[in-house]
Structures are given as C-alpha cells and as structure tokens.
Amino acid sequence: MASDDNRPDPDDLLAQIRESEDRAARGKLRIYFGSSAGVGKTYAMLLAARMQKATGVDVVAGVIETHGRVETGAQIGDLELLPQADVQYRDRTLKEFDLDGALARRPELLLVDELAHSNVAGSRHAKRWQDVEELLDAGINVYSTLNVQHLESLNDVVGGITGIRVQETLPDTFFDSADEVVLVDTPADELIARLQAGKVYLPAQAERAGRNFFRKGNLMALRELALRRTADRVEDDVQAYRVDRSIGHVWKTEAGFLCCIGAHENSNHVVRSAARLAQQLAIGWHAVYVETPALQRLESAQRERILRTVKLAEELGATTAVLYAQEIAPELVGYARQHNLSKLLMGHTREQAWWKGPTLAYRLTQFAADLDLIEVGRGQSAQTQPERPSRTEGTVDEQVGVRAVPYLWTVGACALTTLIAHPLQPYFALANTVMLFLLAVVGVAVRLGRGPAVLAAFLNVAAFDYFFVPPTLSFSISDVQYLFTFAVMLGVGLIIGQLTAGLRFEARAATHRERRSRALFEFARSLSSVLMREQVIEVTEKTVAVEFRAKARIFALDMQDRLEVPMPGADDDGIDLGTAQWAMNHNEAAGLGTDTLAGSAWLYLPLTTPMRARGVLAVKPEDVRLLLVPEQRQQLETFAALLAVALERVHYVEVAQSATVQMESERLRNSLLAAVSHDLRTPLASIYGSSELLVQQTRGLSPAAVDLAQGIASGARRMNAMVANLLDMARLQSGSVQLNLQWQPLEEVVGSALQAVAAIVAGHRIVTAIAHDLPLLNFDAVLIERVFCNLLENAAKYTPPGSTVTISARLSGDEVVTTVADDGPGLPPGREEALFEKFARGERESATPGVGLGLAICRAIVEAHGGRIWVDAGSGARERRGARFHFTLPVGIPPDPPAPELDYQGNLGEAR
C-alpha cells in the first residue's frame, strides 16, 4: 500500500495508451514558432527539411511562402515542389495549396508554410491548419510555421501590444497537439536591422502600421510572449514525460474551473483569458452560457455572437454547454457543483443600476460562499462588429408593415374602451372607469405584447384625461389630484403590461420548447416501432421535412460497411457522396454552415453512436437561416443522434436475423448430411453386396448375366466413392470436421492407404521411398490416408496400366514434403491451380469416371493441417514426364520419444 504513491493512475495510463495508439497511425507535426515575421522560420524549416532529405527521407514542399526573399528561396534547393491547385472563386482563378495532390503524392514529410493561413473560399477547408489535420490523419509528417500573434489565445494580447489585430488565428488545442515546437528566435535589434535592410516581408494590412509594429518595445514584448508560450509547452512536455516514466504523481486530476460567458460584447476576451489561465495551470476548464428569458429576447445577431463565443471556448479546449434557466447564479452554481469545479471565472461586473437588483457576482456569493470567484478584465470594446444581416428594401418595408399592425390594433382597442366607457359615465364613478382602462392595458399586453402595452398605457391615460376628467374634451384638468391619478394609472398600466407581456413571452417560449420536445418524442416513438432500414429512412425524411422545412437524405452503411447512396428523389441536386464520406470519416459535420465546404447547399451530419458512425444525414433547408438558429441546429443534432441509435438497432436486428438464418441452414445441412449418409448408403450397400455375390456364385448364370452383375457391382462401388467424396467435401466445407490430431509416423498411414487402394492400383507398380529420418508428425490419420488414397487413385486413373507410381517423403526445413509422382502423360499445363477446385478434371470431357472432387478434398484436408498442396504438371521435358503431386505437413515439436530399454540379452533395444 505504501508504494501506491509512485504507481501511475490506471486511468492516466489508459489515456496514455490510447493517445499513443492514435499517434502511431497519425503523422507527426513540427511547428517552427516565432515572435514575428522575419525571424527566419521558413528558412529554419527548409534547412531542417533538406537535412532530412539528405538522410533519405521523402520530402516534398507543399507550400512555401518565400515572400521574394533570396536566401530563403535558395534554401528550397532541390526539394520537390508540389504544384498548387487552381481554385475558382467568383470570376478569378486563385492559387492555393493542393490538399488532394498532397494526399495522392503521400510523401513521408511535407512542408506547409504559414499554418494560420485562411484558405481561398471554395477550398475544402476554411483554414490551412484543417488541411494539415487531414494530412496528419493520413499519416503524413508535416513541418509548418507559425507566428505568435496568430495563436488564438494570444490574439487579443498581441493586438493590444501592437495595435494590429490579425484575423487569421490558430486554435491553441491544435498548437498544443503538435508533436514538436521549435522556437526560431532573433533578438529585436537584429530584426530591426533586417527590416531596414528590406529583408522582412510585411503583409499588406501591416504595411501601414509597419513602423509602429516593428518598434523595439513591441518586438521585445512579442519575443517574450513567444518564449513564454514555448516554455509552457516545454513544461507540458516534461510533465507528459514524467507521467510516461511514472515519476510520481504530477498529473493533476484536480478539478478545473468554470468560465461564465456573458452577453456583453467582450466575452471573447474573457474566454481567451480563461484559456490562458487553464493552459498555465495545466487544468481542464468548462465554459457555459446561461440563457435566461431576458437574454432569449436579445436580437438574433447578438445571440449568434454569444454562441460564437461558446464555440471559441470549445476551440480553445473548454467543455462547453448552453443552459436555460430563470436566473443565472443558481444554475451556474449547480453546474459547477455537478462537475466538481471549485472556481468560477467571469468578466468584471460593472456597476449596475439599483433597480436591476444585486450583481451576478453578489448573487453567486450568496448562493455558494465556498466557490472561488475570479474576475478578469473585459478588455477594450471590440473593433470588429459583427456585420448586420443585410436586408433588401422590400423586406424592410414588409417588416415595418408587420410590426405596425399590433400598434394599430392597440389604438383601436383604446378607442373601443373609450367608446364603451363613455355611455357608462353617468352610472360609474371615475375611479371605476380607470379600472376599465387598466383592463384594456392587460388585454393588449396579453394579446399583442410589450410595446403595444406601453402604447396602450399612455393612450389610455390620454383618453381618460381627454374624455372623462372634467373639463371633458380637453387635456386640461380642474383638480390637481388628477395628476396623481394619471401617474398611478400610468404606472400600474406599465407594470401590469410588462408583467403580462413577460408572462406571454415565457408562455410562448415554453410552447416552442414543448413543441420541440414533442417533435423529438414523436420522432423517437415512430423510430422505435420500425424494424427495417427503409422505414427508418422514410420516417426521418418525413419528420425532417415537417419539422425543419428541409429535404433530408440518409446515407446509411450497408452490410459491407460502405456508405450507400440514398434513393434518388426530387431536388437531389448538389448532394454529394464524397462530402458525406468525409463527414463520416472525420466524424464532423460538413457542408452548409460548417467549416468544411460551407458553400454546399446541403448540411451533412455524421450519425454517431457509441460503437461507431452508422451513416450520414444530409439536410437541405428551404430557408438557410432556419438551420442557423442555434435551437434548430441543436434540435437537428438531437434528431441525428436518435436516428443513429435507430440505425444501429436496425443493424443489429439484421445481424441477429442473418445469424439465425445461418444457424438454421447449418442445422439443415447437418441433418441433410446425416440423412444422405444413412439413407443413401444402406441401399448402396445391398446393391453392391448382392451384385458382387451374383458375380461370385456364377453357377446357373449365363456369362451375359455375370457381366451384367459385374456392371452393377462396379457401378455401385463408383457411386459409393462419389457419395463418400460429396459427404467429405460437405463436412470439410461446413467446418464441422474436428481434426483428430495424433503424433504418428507418416510411414504407417502410407501403408494403410496402399492397403485400402490395393484393388485399384493393382495394375500399377508402386514404389515407396520414405526418408528414414522423418520425425513423428501431428496429423489426423484418417484424413491424411484419404489424401494418399485420392492421389493414388488419381495416378491409377490417369496413367496406363504398368506405369510406376512413386511415393516419397523428405524433411525440408520445418516441414515434410510428400510427393506422389507417376510417369504417365502428365497434365495439360496452365491448369495446375484449377485442378484443385471443385468438379475440375484434367480433361474437359473424359471417359474416365469420377466426380472431380478428389483433389479439392485433398486441398481442404492439407490446408486444415496447415500445409500446402500443389502439382508439377510435368508434360514438358522428357526426364520430368508425369504428374507430380506434392503436399507438405508442418513438423512442429514432437513429444519425447520413449526411453531406450534393454532387451533380454542386455543389448540396447534399438539395434535392428
């Protein structure tokens, strides 16, 4: 027990083993990492590549950005350059790295410069690092380069230092998964000198800011960042190494922290800070966004931005979740407790107006005083606003029209209220009339929502003042206390309106949620009742068409594990098996709205189950925006998961059915064999026996009758041999033959075989030449005797009487080669292999009887013993005339021989 400390955690070891298995098949990635452009990354990469090439490695340069630098260009030297692919974009042809070319070329090592590069629109992947990912998956080693400012988690820090924010970023997870990182370092002064000498290429967007960027202070800061990041990585490597070598417990299984994603604009910054912190602490982290009804009401552009932040967190290595709750704080605390996270990280809480209640941070401390709360800076406000979805003029008008309608209704409702209240004036006090107006506000709020409720509150106050408060038909008032009435009336109207509208909104949200879960339930129920794949596909296509207003097609796996192209239907244009296959292989969504082939009209979702992917669901929505709403997308993914489980279930039903059929046919075959064996042989035995008896007892029979009896006897004998062969073959093929392996001398079985075929080979001369030093062999004597009998019968059958048949056996390496050779006419050449197939014979139409099963049986028997059988046709050279059949048996390790014993005379018994 005391030694437990230095024993690695089995889970960790398992994770390590899995990782190394993954890695073994994957290519290795080395990143040349530098603080800024011009430090010499490409140069260093080329240098290393050429050294690899000198040692015989197959190196190909996939893409090299020399930016016109002569020294770097010279370093390419004799390296093979992969031609670039032409990508058609709009009306221009652009050059881009040729991923398919690289995959087809399959070099050992591929150079891919500028890892963070964004591919030209229309390429397979949006980013070059995704190309590299695919190359690594294909087992190709890759060298690449990267500047520190392109690292996702450092992107905004560098932006803060230099004032330039680059758009091309690389997820940290990818950087961390690189097998090696080589830091290429150049001191700031030297870099500035190189800049002045014109040796540093500045990208276009940096040209303007070039002077600012290459200030010494900036360069030193960038250098520090690059060094630090590399140092962090090296530390990770050391830790991984220590875990590998089981040097104590370094791996912290300690819980990570929870990053709260808020609705504010700079939540990206918070997420990046969290990622950096997690990386420095080497712990895992979660990021969640809690959507409250209030947040749900945000504009969809804002909501999309928040969900993009969630995605960013995922790319940076977080476990993410989107939760729905009435209030944020308890939900966060619940999540943290559930996942054993002891720290909460969030952006600074701003001062908040008093009516909004306590801040989130305060609420959190109220709910869980034991949780640590980390507040991080929010950063400056974002420079890049998400572009607003552009709308055409027509839709703007339409939208205005749609929006105006409830307000017109509101005005009408207020007018109606006034009309109803007016004739009642003499009978009711003014206070009761106020009630009527308030009722109208509630009605409007319930029917028409928040905005109209506000309008109704104001309109009603105005109408009340104008028509009811003396002096009537004027806004002036006689009594000041009416001002108080108006204020209260307005206040009550607004509050009731807000509350009612809120209720209405929540009721609607609940309805939507309920509708979604009902749809899921219905889908699950209809899937659960089907038993065939076609039905699953039909149910899915119908449901998706109703729920998502989209066409759906399913690529399912067939029994051979290939993707099956769905039945062609209407509107199938643009559907592509290749993309589906990609999604399936990479277990990632592809097509519309994803990172891969975003230009496609179809969205391809892999159907993943715990066992494996079962196919791909392709969806083509009528309105693209319908699928981009997060809830809809999530719903679709849940559908896909249900569908995957249904497909898997159906698959296993098929497997079980085919197993049952197989068992049934096996049973049938066995009983058929038994029946044939008995029912066919018994009559054969009496035919043969009786006819042979007739032949022997020739007294009283005419010679012609004796001939006939002889014919019957030999026919019965042949038929019996045939039945025996058929039964043997059937038994051998069904795999129901159990070898009765015994250690025994080969000589013995040769003797018994010769005895068995004595009558058939009587007209031939048989010579045996079996080497005396043969070891005991482990074989089934009955079956090997069959092999000898068949070979001998064949030899007798196909050679003229008087020919010599030689049986020889000798030791050759770790097997014994046995040969049955004759000096007959040999076999037609070129058919050596076909002879061993069922129903094959040397000549096509032969007068010699016998179903061509003998050699097929020989092969089955010999192969069951782990040997080989083949033939020399021997119809060529004269000295090698005659067919020579060879077969081998493995030698194995024979058991110990008995100890030598003394005979009666005291001599050793082995003397012969």
Binding site: S677, L684, Q696, Q697, W743, S752, L754, E785, E901
Partner: protein, 231 residues
C-alpha cells in the same frame, strides 16, 4: 461338433439381411435374423450362436447398447457393420466388446474372410493350447518367449515382445490404440499414445518383409492395429 455353425444377424435393412444370408449359407452357416436390439438379444440367448453380425444403427437402440448387454453373459465373436468415416463409432463398438468390424459397402468375399477369422479364433479358444504361433516367416514361441524369423532369432525389447504377445493373443481381432496401451503399459499411460506407434514401427522393421507395406501387422487407420496370420 458336426452341426453347422450358427450366426445371428442383427440388421434392420431387409436387402442387406437377404444378401448376408445368401453369402453365409453356401459357406455352411445357419443364419438367424433379427431387426432390433431386443429381438437380437432374444436370438443370441436362444440360438447360442458362434457368431453375431451386428449393425450399429438399429430402430430401438444402438449396437453399443446391444454389445454392453451381450457381454454380460456371452463371449461370442461379434462383427460390427459400420459406415466409413465413423471411426469413433468403431472404437466405441470395439471398446464395448466387439471383435471386428466391416465397413459398408462390403462384398461377400470380404465378409467371408472376416467370418473365417472368427471361426479360427473360436477353434483356438476352445481347442488345444498351442504355445507357438506363426504368421508369414515369423514364429512366436510363447512358452519359451522366443521370436524367430525365417529360422533366425529376432531380438525384441521387453515392450516390443509384450506388444507382440498381446497382438498374438488377439490375432485376427482389431485392437484399439487404447486397448493396446492398457495391455502393454497399464491403464494410466494414455498420455504417451505415440509410444505405441513407435514400438509398432520397430516391430514392423524387425518382422515385416516390407515395413512400409505390412502384410501381418496391419494398421486399422484411426482405430488401432490387427495381427493377421492368414494369406
């Protein structure tokens, strides 16, 4: 013993019964037929046969059941009729007390040869005790424990001699591997089945004219060995 010998034939196929009867009767046998285990036992009990010919597959039981029952009270020579490729059935029948087997389909000549072996064995068991046994050029003097071949003494090791003696004592019968192992090495040596084959090979080297094509020390493939004296 002037009476003709008696054979009981237990077989459920009428045609085979008819053919076996017509093969045996000309050779002087009196044949009684039975088509089931039960009737076969009755016949064997009442007719006091010199020979039982038994089919292994019968409508009311197997030949093995029959043999177990029969061996409680009779030592009569039993020849089993069996199908080829059912070596386990043959071994089970021999272990249960059968003396010989013949594989279907068989000819009258083959059957009569086996019947003659049975007759000779019966004569030996009942007749005078002859201490010498001859096969081919070989003479075994069981009293003097001397083996000679063409008049020349042959040196055998104790185990070789013991094996030969067991085969001689059961001449004409098929001895299963297991039975021979039990007789020669004792009942607990079934793990060294290959010993038997090695000693058998040695015996053939010393006693057969062409050891690779033995005439007397015959192999019954998959079943055991048999010493044949005739031909």
């Amino acid at each position: 013993m002037n009476e003709s010998p008696v054979a009981v034939l237990i077989e459920d196929d009428v045609q085979i019964r008819r053919f076996v009867r017509s093969a045996l009767e000309p050779a002087g046998w009196q044949v009684f037929e039975a088509d089931s285990v039960r009737q076969g036992l009755v016949e064997a009990g009442t007719r006091r046969p010199d020979l039982v010919i038994l089919d292994l597959g019968l409508p009311d039981g197997t030949g093995i059941d029959y043999l177990r029952d029969l061996r409680h009270w009779s030592k009569v020579h039993v020849i089993v009729l069996s199908a080829r490729s059912h070596e386990n059935d043959k071994i089970a029948a021999l272990d249960a007390g059968a003396d010989d087997y013949i594989t279907k389909p068989f000819g009258a000549g083959e059957l009569l040869a086996r019947v003659r072996v049975a007759q000779r064995r019966a004569a030996q068991l009942g007749g005078q005790v002859d201490s010498t046994f001859r096969f081919g050029e070989v003479e075994v003097d069981l009293a003097a424990r001397v083996v000679s071949r063409a008049g020349q003494d042959v040196h055998l090791t104790p185990i070789e001699y013991r094996l030969l003696a067991v085969l001689v004592a059961n001449a004409g019968r098929v001895m299963t591997h297991q039975a021979l192992l039990n007789e020669v090495w004792g009942p607990n040596r079934s793990d060294s089945a290959h010993y038997l084959r090695i000693f058998m090979s040695n015996l053939r080297q010393k006693l057969e004219v062409d050891p690779s094509r033995p005439q007397h020390l015959r192999t019954e493939t998959g079943v055991g060995y048999r010493l044949t004296a005739g031909q």
